[in-house]
Structures are given as C-alpha cells and as structure tokens.
Symmetry: C3
Subunit: 142 residues, 3 copies
Amino acid sequence: MMRQALSTLRISTRGRGFQEITRDVQRCVAEAAVQTGLCTLHLQHTSASLLIQENADPDVRRDFERFFARLVPDGDPLFIHTAEGEDDMPAHVRTALTTVNLSVPVAEGRLCLGTWQGIYVWEHRRAPHTRSVVVHVIGDDG
Amino acid sequence: MMRQALSTLRISTRGRGFQEITRDVQRCVAEAAVQTGLCTLHLQHTSASLLIQENADPDVRRDFERFFARLVPDGDPLFIHTAEGEDDMPAHVRTALTTVNLSVPVAEGRLCLGTWQGIYVWEHRRAPHTRSVVVHVIGDDG
Amino acid sequence: MMRQALSTLRISTRGRGFQEITRDVQRCVAEAAVQTGLCTLHLQHTSASLLIQENADPDVRRDFERFFARLVPDGDPLFIHTAEGEDDMPAHVRTALTTVNLSVPVAEGRLCLGTWQGIYVWEHRRAPHTRSVVVHVIGDDG
C-alpha cells in the first residue's frame, strides 16, 4: 500500500565544511517503512547546501573547499551584501552553485546510492550553525 | 487518500533578473488540496533557472547578477554558439550551473520552505521572455 | 490507481562528453504505464552528471566542454586528490557544479520537457565508463 512519511533532521555543523548525513537519511527511510519509493531532502537554508559526493578519500572534501574558496572568495569587493560578514554573500553563491534539494529512489528499503556516494550537508558559513533538513519518503510498504 | 495535481505557471520575465514565484507555487499546492506531500517544479527552458534563495535583502539578488556576469561574461570569445546573441551561450551555462528542477516537501498544506527561502525564476536572457513552470503535487489530503 | 516503477539504465559513455538519454527515460515512463505523475532520475556516480540542456545545436555541448575545461582545468595544482589522474578531482567538481538528480513531471504518459530540452549524461572523466541511472516513476495509470 502507498504511504508517506515526513521528518526533520537537525544537523549541527562545525563551521565551513562537510557533515555526512547518509545514515540519518537511511534511518528516516527505515522508519517510514517504505520498501520501494522515493526519498526527497530539502535543506531549509540559503547559505549551506546538500551534496552527494565521494565518501572515501577525505582529500576530496578538502579539495572542494579549496576550489570554492578560489572561485567565490570571502571578502570579494564585488559584493554589496555583507551584513553578516565577508563570508555572507559567498555562502549564498556557493549554495546556488550546488543545491538545497535532492531526490533519491528507494529499493528494498534502502536509498539507491552508488557505492562511493555519501550525502552531505555542506556548511558554507565560517561559524557553526544548526541546519534543518526536511526528509520526505513516499512509496510502497510491500 | 493519495492524490496528485499538475498545473503550469506562465511567468513573464522582464529580462535578466529574478522573479519571485513562491506565492504562485503555494497557490498550486492549495488548489491540489494536499496536506502532506511533495511539490516538484520543472522549468521547461534551457536559458533560465529555478532558484531557492534569500528573500529579504534585494542586494543578494544584485550580487548574484554581478557574480554570474563575471563568471560567465556575455560576449566571451570562447563561445561558438552565438545564434541568438552574445548572451545566448552564457544563459545556457548559467542555467547548467544552477538548475531547472526543484522538489519541496509539503506539510499542513504548505511548502516546507525555510524562513528566508523564496522560490525564483532567474531569467538569464537580456530580453523579456514568457517562461513555463510545470508544478506537480502529490500527497495525502487528510 | 496510484502505481510506481523502478528501473536502471546502463549508459556506456565514450569519455568526456554528452550522451543523450531522453528516449531511454521516456521508454521507462511508458513501461511504468503512468499517465500523470513524476519521473525522478538518480545517477549513481560522483564524476559524471545529469543535465537537461539544449538538444538542437551541437555547438552548445562543445561550448559547455570549453567553458568547464577553463573553469575547472585538468591538472590544476590546487588539487591533492589525484589518485586516478589529473581529470579525477576536476570530474568531482564538475559534478558538484551541476547535479546527479533530476525530477520531471509526467503528463499524458510523457515527460513534461520543453521543446528544446534533452536529458543528458555528462561524462566528466576522459576514459569511457559505464554509468547507472536509476529511474523512478510514480503516478496514476488513468
């Protein structure tokens, strides 16, 4: 029978960087008791992203930070919106260049992620924040 | 009971810039009479984007335009595809760097957006266009 | 009646470049026998993307390659993660700047794509790969 479930994850970030949430999302899918279906994540913020990326070598995440620090540098004089500091507008741009929504199918009660895919909250502000991710699961329990 | 609804928003843009559509999308959700579910937007174009971003300070949108104008400049001699002018290929690239699909869960009949999140059509062409956004809502009416 | 279907497309890429999969996805929708609904694609990799873009002029795809080759150059000394060669980390960054998930509504048994929209697997590695795209379709058969 078709069913759905909605829950919210609260993720404490430690400032700029990646926080893996794959297990937390998988737990939401298990609690929804959906065997075949679709899991959608929505991050309710404009200065942090959701990203599916390599979960093996931590150098990948370090290189991501280095690349984005060069592409969208903090304190860039181009930006007018600096109300919350020199990392404020760069955090918005990094978010727009990535995304705040993800949708992953579910099969046999598990997220259909690839072997090397992990789901991350990518904090773009320098200070720690609490970030909310709404998790929606829809599908069949059979 | 599980139900769904499909509708299309026609958005008149005024050339390059942001057009907020949060209320239009919320209206589609209300008309679908879904209390708990998922709302998916698809923009049917390749030179404009859908973006969820800060809805408070208009300087944020101005800074977005300035950043993207520098990152993907009009008239860049790199580009061969200039059939519709010097903003043609940059508009495609801006679209690819952002997105044309969004999925936002629905709770208590409302989009689960964060406090500062608005949904925008971001026109990347200099001339005004009419843009179509297909809105799909699925969920429970109970 | 509400129904869903899950399938996997295996796409053989020829190294860096675009492979159109619009017809393959449309075939999954037809096989799912869904008239009105939602089709979600998830690419199970971290060095290739899904992209909806212009399907008419092949120069558009060539210009995309040229732009991304300049934005995220192979062999950039910034990168530490070079385990699989100088195109390894650039492939991850290109993937993050685009996306691995897409959701497109379905009406009258067909994907609600715009006239000029095609769905592509964009291979970011130089060598050919086999890429898996999970296709989830949910909706009504009536």
